[in-house]
């Protein structure tokens, strides 16, 4: 596919914000990614603003884990995944599975920003008749599988990666897990099988925010644990967008070995009164708190730009 072709089919170019020329796509592996849009940090800010808005809707949202995953999701959808929002089932796509399905608000935000759904549809979140429930449904464009029951995503990624491998397709599968989710035994069944089957086209990302509902989710050395299961484990700052992009885009470093990125994150990241608090797991923000949260996000963004 030529750059010209890609420009013609890349829906990011229909976004008024995506005015930069397609020439910024320099890596052939980026053919269907959206490197042409806003700077990643600005995109991540918009994703967080959407998440806050959803948490301020009548049902509230799993805001803490959505905010901790926001940079990972932004890097994936705007700089890594080969996807076509106008053709969600494009056979050449990379697969993404939100194994920590409760971070649905984060997924909806990034899917809307990327063009899979109208941004205005986010206003329907959790309201009667909406496609956007508290956990993702398969009826949402771009959602491969409904998730929410923890411990399913890695085996889903395994199956999709296995089918691609046996078909001779180069699709990659990315699975985002929570660190608390690693307590589910089925994660380790899948980890064992994926390594044994040599699926280096499968990449797991652990959103290591170190908190779950009842408190700490810290369980010792995770890298050692994954390595013992036959995985390549890489520890990374889960809020460093450029580092995330680079690590996620990297071709398999060791043939036949799946990779896990242990992404250190902050639960509630970007909203100081939520950060590092287990209680941010689920919240319904009042109008006042919504305002405070949006102000804090904007202030943090300005500080970032000044740097």
């Amino acid at each position: 596919m030529t750059t010209t072709d890609q420009t013609a089919t890349d829906p990011a170019t229909t976004d008024p914000a995506a005015a930069e020329p397609a020439a910024t796509v320099t890596d052939p592996a980026a053919t269907a990614t959206a490197r042409t849009g806003l700077p990643l940090a600005e995109r991540a800010l918009r994703v967080r603003q959407h998440i806050v808005a959803m948490a301020a809707s009548p049902e509230g949202a799993h805001i803490g884990g959505a905010l901790s995953a926001a940079d990972i999701l932004t890097a994936l959808y705007f700089d890594v995944l080969r996807v076509r929002p106008e053709e969600p089932e494009w056979p050449g796509r990379d697969y993404f599975l939100l194994s920590k399905g409760h971070a649905a608000a984060g997924l909806y935000a990034v899917l809307a920003e990327r063009g899979f759904l109208p941004v205005e549809e986010l206003d329907t979140y959790a309201r009667s008749g909406s496609r956007l429930g508290g956990h993702p449904l398969r009826t949402v464009p771009g959602v491969e599988f409904p998730t929410g029951s923890l411990g399913h995503g890695l085996a889903l990624g395994l199956g999709l990666a296995l089918a691609a491998r046996r078909d001779g397709r180069d699709n990659r599968a990315y699975v985002l897990l929570g660190d608390g989710e690693l307590q589910e035994g089925s994660v380790w069944e899948a980890a064992d099988s994926a390594a044994r089957l040599g699926l280096d086209n499968l990449t797991a990302v652990v959103d290591r925010n170190r908190l779950q509902i009842n408190g700490s989710s810290h369980r010792g050395n995770l890298a050692d644990r994954w390595r013992a299961f036959g995985w390549r484990a890489v520890e990374i700052d889960g809020h460093d967008l450029d580092a995330l992009s680079a690590a996620l885009r990297e071709p398999p470093a060791e043939p036949g070995v799946p990779t896990v990125l242990l992404a250190d994150t902050v639960k509630g990241r970007g909203v100081p009164f939520l950060e590092n608090r287990a209680k941010s797991h689920y919240a319904l923000l009042s109008p006042t708190l919504r305002h405070r949260a949006l102000k804090a996000l904007a202030a943090a963004s300005r500080t970032e730009q000044d740097r």
Binding site: F145, P146, H152, A155, G159, L160, A163, S193, L197
Partner: protein, 321 residues
């Protein structure tokens, strides 16, 4: 190449199904086989179609989820495990990943009912039909002999959604001619009579119903015998027609009396043709008696004698249940 009926008559339902699957996969490139360290599958399907065989190890939950993903990628996976592990250990994966998404994953389960025998309650499964029947989209089949088990393969592979099939571990006599009418969702009327309807699924229960029908005939009573191999969707028209003709229905199954064929029949009759019903199956308890399959079936009265005696006493107005 199709399986030879004379070979199948001597084969277990499990072996007949697996052989048919390996052969049918030669014509249908969508078919995959997912194994969970079951033994026998690797040497058959795995050797014939290694590119479409995967062993997930002793990890039934992951096998179910992986199969769902394979199906989403256009494959038609047949997964192999034991009934207890399919229905309960990996039941949530079957529900969320397979049934909810209506994906064509076909679960081939052995050790259903009491067929685990002396392996005990951990390896028996008296609730698999109840669980699978409660899942939307799921087709539930219990073939009664090896010939029909083999004939199931292309039928299941043609379904748009998932199925659960219970396969026998031991060879039993065919319940009818190899070419008898057999279709998903259709009861096979093995005997027609006006005095009582016997509805059964699975090898020993159907054979018990047939044996009872023969004994009843010697006493001048004519039984209708339905091989209800497809428990879901239930052949309600055939059931209602038989119930209307005979006025009473007796079910026979190698399963708990809660939630299985007897319950499915009770629900359908209550709504469409309320006639007296009695259920023969395993009572609401675990079977911790050590013994072979036939011995355990006899212990719970899943035999032609018990079916015969129950039907005869019922006819005479002495209700033994």
């Amino acid at each position: 190449m199709t399986a030879h009926p004379q070979d199948l008559a001597a084969a277990t339902g499990r072996d007949a199904f697996r052989q048919a699957l390996t052969e049918h996969a030669g014509q249908d490139p969508r078919i995959w086989c997912c194994d969970s360290d079951m033994g026998g599958v690797a040497q058959g399907f795995g050797a014939a179609h290694p590119e479409r065989y995967v062993d997930l190890g002793i990890a039934e939950a992951t096998m179910m989820t992986t199969a769902a993903a394979l199906a989403a990628a256009g494959k038609v996976p047949f997964v192999h495990t034991m009934a207890s592990f399919a229905a309960l250990r990996a039941g949530e994966q079957v529900k969320v990943d397979i049934a909810y998404n209506n994906l064509p994953v076909h679960i081939a389960a052995t050790h259903g009912g009491l067929s685990g025998g002396h392996f005990g309650p951990t390896h028996q499964s008296l609730e698999d039909i109840a669980v699978m029947r409660a899942l939307p989209h799921m087709t539930v089949v219990v073939p009664s002999d090896s010939a029909t088990a083999a004939r199931l393969v292309p039928l299941l592979a043609g379904l748009p959604g998932p199925s659960y099939v219970r396969l026998a571990r031991r060879a039993t006599a065919p319940v009818g001619p190899a070419g008898r009418p057999f279709a998903l969702g259709r009861a096979d009327v093995l005997r027609e009579g006006g005095d009582v309807t016997l509805v059964a699924c699975g090898p020993q229960p159907v054979l018990a119903a047939l044996g009872a029908a023969d004994r009843l005939a010697a006493d001048g009573l004519a039984a209708t015998v339905l091989d209800m191999a497809t428990v879901k969707p239930l052949d309600v028209p055939a059931l209602v027609a038989a119930a209307e003709r005979t006025g009473r229905v007796l079910t026979v199954e190698d399963h708990s009396v809660i939630g299985g064929l007897g319950s499915a029949v009770a629900e359908a009759l209550a709504e469409h043709c309320p006639v007296p019903l009695r259920r023969i199956g395993v009572p609401d308890r675990f079977c911790d008696r050590v013994g072979g399959h036939d011995e355990l079936l006899a212990h719970y009265g899943i035999t032609d004698e018990r079916v015969y005696e129950t039907a005869l006493a019922w006819h005479k107005g002495v209700d033994v249940l």
